[in-house]
């Protein structure tokens, strides 16, 4: 059986995961689990999902060989192009799945948290496509630094609610979305945007992102043959990484997740319980959750999906960090060598590659890196930070 098959009946991957939610939400989580289990085993549902991904969301996405970057680094790099999906990131894969489930559950509305706004935009998009009401919670800090996405969500008909509690970022948006969900579980599905939260979300979201890894491994097989030496993806909650890894976990490929320096739950955290799950968490001496600090709104999260904590504990995947400065470098380098402007999140994966090519990543290796999203949303932030360097 694959290491990434399914969690046990308590929703655990090894010692991580579970369902730590208030009694008021237990029933709603069980309902999501039952519907997901039923429909994920249903051939017709699978076809409907695959059909929307291809005819609407632009799947399959290409695996692009990055020739100039490869030459520059001395390793052979392939980019899995989630930036080319409709709405511009891998988030759409998960949301289409959950929006379909929402319909199956007979619910009329969907709510979401968002950091970078990519999950919010994807949710607003799927809601428009399927005629669902949509509300998105977003920290005030992120509302400001991802203003373009706020506008897109509103244009798509979603209500965007700025969250002013705590660190005013993704962590607090999750709290607020959970609070809202409690009072409307009869008509609303909570569409969590990453492989986090209470069971079955970490499992369900990974399954909806599995397509990324499955496509990429088949494409690599076709283009090169065999499996790559190294597979790299950025990790916020960890959905693009989980989806990617699921396609390679049973191969000999080295799996590397890249967290932001200021939000490195695996590298710098310890096991904790928040947002319905037991996983690696940044926390103080008494277990108060610490605030993450990252240039990237989508990775600015003190926790991580439980399956990553599990893969790390097994040593099957390794987790590394990238800092804001090298991430900005990576944005410029990839833009100029490949004509691809990455979002700040996958730029973390690129930064790790640039730093470690010829070191942790031996010269001559083959690498698959998930380009989880495009950089348009970050243009303003990056423009400010790079103002003095680009002219």
């Amino acid at each position: 059986m694959s290491i990434m098959s399914h969690p046990d009946e308590t929703g655990r991957f090894g010692e991580f995961g579970g369902r730590f939610v208030p009694e008021s939400l237990v029933g709603a989580c069980i309902e999501v689990e039952q519907f997901f289990t039923k429909f994920w085993a249903d051939e017709e549902f699978r076809q409907e999902y695959a059909e929307i991904l291809s005819s609407y969301a632009g799947r399959p996405t290409p695996l692009t060989e990055a020739h100039r970057l490869s030459e520059h680094l001395g390793v052979r790099v392939f980019l899995k192009r989630e930036d080319l999906t409709h709405t511009g990131s891998h988030k759409i894969n998960n949301v289409i799945g959950q929006a379909l489930l929402t319909k199956k559950m007979g619910k009329s509305a969907i709510l979401a948290e968002t950091g970078a706004g990519q999950h919010g935009v994807a949710t607003a998009t799927a809601a428009a496509l399927m005629g669902l009401k949509c509300r998105v919670y977003m920290g005030e800090v992120d509302v400001e630094r991802q203003a373009l996405n706020v506008f897109r969500m509103r244009l798509l008909g979603a209500e965007v609610v700025p969250v002013s509690s705590g660190s005013k970022t993704l962590k607090d948006a999750v709290n607020e979305a959970m609070r809202a969900w409690v009072s409307e579980i009869d008509e609303t599905h909570y569409c969590i945007g990453s492989v986090m939260g209470p069971h079955p979300y970490p499992y369900m979201v990974r399954e909806f992102q599995r397509v990324v890894g499955e496509e990429a491994s088949a494409q690599f097989e076709r283009l090169v043959g065999g499996s790559p030496d190294v597979v790299i993806a950025c990790v916020g909650g960890g959905s693009n990484a989980a989806g990617t890894f699921s396609g390679f976990v049973d191969s000999p490929a080295r799996l590397v997740g890249v967290e932001p320096e200021g939000g490195a739950a695996i590298a710098k955290g310890s096991p904790g319980v928040v947002h319905g799950m037991r996983s690696q968490l940044l926390q103080d001496e008494f277990g108060q959750v610490e605030e993450a600090v990252s240039i990237s709104a989508g990775l600015d999260y003190p926790g991580v999906g439980p399956e990553h904590s599990y893969l790390a504990s097994l040593g099957r995947a390794e987790y590394r960090c990238a800092g804001d400065e090298e991430v900005l470098e990576a944005v410029t380098t990839l833009s100029r060598l490949e004509g691809i402007i990455p979002a700040l999140e996958p730029a973390h994966a690129v930064a790790y590659l640039l730093r470690e090519a010829g070191k942790e990543i031996p010269l001559g290796s083959t690498v698959v890196l998930t380009m989880s999203g495009r950089g348009d949303k970050d243009a303003e932030v990056v423009a400010k930070l790079l103002a003095d360097r680009l002219s």
Binding site: R19, P22, V26, I185, L281, V289
Partner: protein, 259 residues
């Protein structure tokens, strides 16, 4: 010696009294222990001590703010329990907080702190029954009751199990939502008593959303009593001291006594 939570509440209930439990955030102000004393003087039957957590997922604005303020002032579970150790009150203390504070410091260790603080029971809203066994196995031998909550959305067969497993009393959640004041009593709050008292002889208290004396009396009419949190905490945040809080609690007491 800590007070046995269930025995204490049963005795008072069986004596014909409607039970009143109020919630205060530990470490919120320098005078938070005086607030407890004034609540006791005004006739509460137990006190819920909120141990502040950074991410109070099921709490509304008032308790969120109080938690944040207490944390900014350096509140932590160990110090709160040390402070409570100084206190000698004739009613049981119940700690309410989130599971990570237990998980992080270790279940045995935290149970020790709670015992030192004279805590009789705990309410851990993000620790549903299915996840609670390791904690309850540690708490029970220490005389700490773990209270189970039952929600309006809880199916009947599950409600039966929760009532059976609950220790101290049964916390009947009055409405589907976060803690916080509401203009009127939720319809679901009226149903808690009749529904749960048919399932258990343990004291059944209704909490969440109970905001004033009238609502308290109404919610208690078919149950064994009420828990009032945000209405108190909001007043403290607005600057109310022990005297004002005592007066508000006395109003709740009077309404429950039907006077």
């Amino acid at each position: 010696m800590t007070i046995d939570l269930e025995q204490h509440l049963r005795q008072r209930r069986d004596g014909g009294r409607k039970l009143l439990v109020v919630y205060l955030t530990g470490g919120l102000n320098n005078d938070w222990l005086d607030l407890i004393l004034s609540c006791v003087d005004s006739g509460v039957d137990a006190i819920e001590i909120g141990v502040p957590f950074s991410d109070p997922m099921i709490d509304g604005v008032a308790i969120q703010k109080a938690s944040q303020r207490a944390l900014e002032q350096g509140a932590n579970p160990l110090q709160i329990m040390k402070d409570l150790h100084q206190l000698d009150v004739p009613v049981p203390l119940v700690a309410m907080t989130y599971f990570n504070l237990f998980h992080h410091s270790g279940l045995e260790r935290v149970a020790g702190w709670l015992v030192d603080g004279g805590i009789s029971g705990v309410i851990i809203p993000d620790l549903p029954l299915e996840e609670s066994t390791p904690w309850r196995d540690v708490a029970r031998p220490q005389g700490i009751a773990t209270v189970q909550l039952v929600a309006p959305s809880t199916p009947q067969d599950r409600a039966e199990v929760l009532c059976r497993e609950s220790e101290g009393f049964v916390y009947g959640i009055g409405l589907m939502g976060t803690t916080g004041e509401r203009a009127s009593l939720a319809d679901t709050a009226r149903l808690v008593g009749p529904r749960l008292k048919a399932l258990t002889t343990k004291p059944v208290l209704v909490g969440i959303g109970i905001s004033n004396p009238d609502q308290a009396a109404e919610a208690a009419s078919d149950s064994d009593g009420v828990i009032v949190g945000s209405a108190i905490v909001r007043r403290v945040l607005d600057g109310a001291g022990p005297r004002e809080i005592g007066a508000f609690v006395a109003g709740l007491r009077t309404a429950l006594d039907g006077r």
